[in-house]
Symmetry: C2
Subunit: 411 residues, 2 copies
DNA sequence: CCGGTTAGTCGGTCGGATCAACGAATCGCG
DNA sequence: CGCGATTCGTTGATCCGACCGACTAACCGG
């Protein structure tokens, strides 16, 4: 019970921002004395800090604000993608403490080599935590794949050419040293799911309890937050929306069928619409980032062909998103990945299509927004997922007695 | 804390069936003494009963099983549909205490008249509760409509020709008498959503935490249970899957577009495939039940035309359901409404289509099953939703001291 | 009849939430 | 400047309720 009350107070501070003890008591319904005791314990654990003596304005004794103190714990998020790895460390306030990106041609390497690289990056993140005297509380790996979350196994990742790769076990085996010093859970999840979690935790729609996040890459991935919780599915295989067949007479798809959503709005489909085969944009030797930049440039200069292509992609987004919105009625749809880069050109036609196709009046009260995290959403989501452990049970963070300045904390 | 522990024990008994106090303690991690005290309180509240002295078989003193005792509380579920109203009272063990169906041509009546009839049926259900000395704990109305659950308003119900009907308020106004005696919450929700809840609570897939329920009627409705909770959406507008456009070149739909899912698998679409306009089955003067019976008869006698039609409907079910399964990765898809009647003829082609279209290996571990509740699922789900209040907080049921036999209970 | 084993209850203990009252800090006002 | 009013946070007393150990109850097999 103590635990759940500690969690209640910590969550409240995280969600609603800092406030006085009396304010917390009023909001949560707990007793003032109880809140005082809980806050004291959270301070001892380094999770919470006493802030400014509230600027006086009203009558009465001004309270001292209590605020989340990130500096004691860190969540680690790692993203494995087709051509890079990213690791990020976030503190409790979702501030970035460390971020590193490594180029890596994942599909051309055996999974073991990739796991070596992931382990290297992760231990660098852990060392950075140690250097800052921050307790690492968990690692979450985001992968564009069907992930069996419970087993910690990547079942199938066509873009990486992986099948049945035991990521959690592989990583744990490679990190025995750091893990012995800082025991913490390792998890794997689908990147689109984690991106949704990232937007929910710290994006432009932070705090929205019901949202759908669409990640635009070579394919399209979806993540759903419903009632404030990630919809993971029975096996963790949720969010596979790329092969929704919008038009049986459409363009051929890698899956063998025609007219899948991603043939219309995936990066390849967008490029096909925007440029002929002999156009420099279609040169596969260039990186995707560069080709994307070229497209944006052309759009900005008003190139007709490009604008038409983006309009069709936007409309395609609307057609597919309408299906999802009708199904789960989110409060917001967030466009991430490459959609975010080209957002201004996609939003108009997408919204028009939604207005026409969503059954509920006024698109069911659903907003369409661009991701503020962009390609970083998945790793942020992973780090936040790791931090959830602290919000669930603040008592996992040890008490550092009274000493505030402890350079080489032994706890 | 006491409350949450009471709820914990009651939920456990509901989900896992009756067992001894020691068994409950072992399962929940609570102390034996604590469980004894909690069970005693639940017995006082009439929610739980001491059963048979466990048939001895092993060594040691045999424990006395504790079981859910339904007989003290009742949840009321009311369904409003195109041509009938249904009310049902379920006790805590999901046993039917009362069930009544009234024919009513809803679209031809003003909503006020329909609400009068609903109120009449509901108060009959409440009187039945009184007669049995059962405490009614809530009313949930299931309606085939876009329902703003929070506001208790039907936003839009094309089949009923309703728009912005304040059902909760209307019903509360008409039930002031009974409600004064038994204060209880009234709620409205979408019928497909509640049907999913019904299957989850007491259907063939009872206890499955992640499932999708498809209701086949004139349209198609979906309900999603994810992580054991109903996915209601931000405004309660979830489950509108009937107008997923499977083929832009398909048959015309009432919504103005072509090739919507319900043109393929809705009852009208099925009948169109199975019979020409001059066929007796196509006679709109007959009730839907009768026409459905005729179709089933023909299928049973091996009529080629009918079997071909049902095969196409089954395949269409698979095409649409694949989209939903890829999106939310349920453990089971339950076919309800008219799909359940014709299930044997639909399942084969549906499963074949799913195997081809679901991305996750082995259909993501998703089973396809026929509803065991059929058309009753929505009202059962509503009654169960009302009973949730008791499982959430058993303390809402008053203590009836020691007296067991109280004909006219004043509590 | 007696040890062995498991079920349920009883009295004591203790963690921790609540309550009431008090000291602390600020404002408005005379 | 002093005083009441007001709100904040803490302190000591109280009490609820979960936990623990020990006991009795009820069955088994020999």
């Amino acid at each position: 019970m103590r635990r759940s009350n500690l969690a209640l107070v910590l969550r409240h501070l995280g969600a609603r921002g800092s406030r006085s003890r009396a304010g917390i008591a009023a909001d949560t319904g707990l007793n003032k004395a109880t809140v005082s005791s809980l806050v004291a314990e959270l301070v001892d654990r380094g999770l919470v800090r006493e802030g400014e003596p509230h600027r006086a304005g009203a009558v009465g004794r001004p309270g001292k604000d209590v605020a989340l103190d990130g500096r004691c714990v860190g969540g680690i998020g790692v993203e494995v993608n087709v051509d890079y790895l990213t690791a990020v460390v976030l503190d409790l306030t979702s501030t970035v403490l460390f971020e590193q990106r490594v180029a890596l041609d994942v599909p051309s390497l055996p999974p073991e080599d990739v796991l070596d690289a992931v382990a290297g990056l992760t231990s660098r993140a852990i060392r950075e935590c140690e250097r800052r005297d921050v307790l690492p509380v968990g690692v979450t790996v985001a992968i564009p794949a069907l992930v069996d979350v419970a087993a910690g196994v990547v079942a199938f990742a066509p873009n990486l050419r992986w099948r049945d790769v035991p990521v959690v076990r592989g990583l744990a085996d490679r990190l025995t040293g750091p893990l012995a010093e800082h025991p913490m859970p390792i998890r794997v999840a689908n990147d689109a799911n984690l991106a949704a979690l990232g937007e929910h935790a710290m994006g432009g729609v932070a705090g929205t309890a019901d949202l759908v996040h669409l990640t635009g890459g070579m394919g399209v991935g979806a993540g759903v937050i419903s009632g404030g919780r990630l919809l993971g599915g029975a096996e963790g295989f949720s969010g596979e929306v790329g092969h929704i067949q919008l038009d049986p007479a459409g363009h051929e798809c890698g899956c063998g069928r025609r007219g899948c959503w991603e043939t219309l709005v995936g990066m390849a489909g967008m490029l096909r619409l925007a440029a002929d085969a002999d156009d420099p944009v279609s040169d596969p030797a260039l990186g995707l980032d560069q080709r994307l930049d070229m497209i944006r440039c052309r759009a900005e200069t008003g190139d007709r062909r490009t604008l038409d292509a983006l309009e069709r992609v936007g409309a395609g987004l609307g057609v597919g998103a309408a299906i999802l919105i009708n199904f789960v009625n989110p409060r917001a749809v967030v466009l991430g990945g490459y959609f975010a880069c080209l957002g201004p050109y996609l939003l108009g036609p997408m919204r028009a299509e939604l207005r026409a196709r969503v059954i509920a009046p006024d698109i069911g009260g659903c907003r369409v927004e661009l991701s503020t995290l962009g390609f970083a959403a998945a790793s942020r989501g992973g780090a936040n997922a790791a931090l959830e452990a602290v919000f669930d049970d603040p008592a996992i963070v040890p008490i550092r007695s009274a000493a505030r300045v402890s350079a080489t904390g032994s706890g």
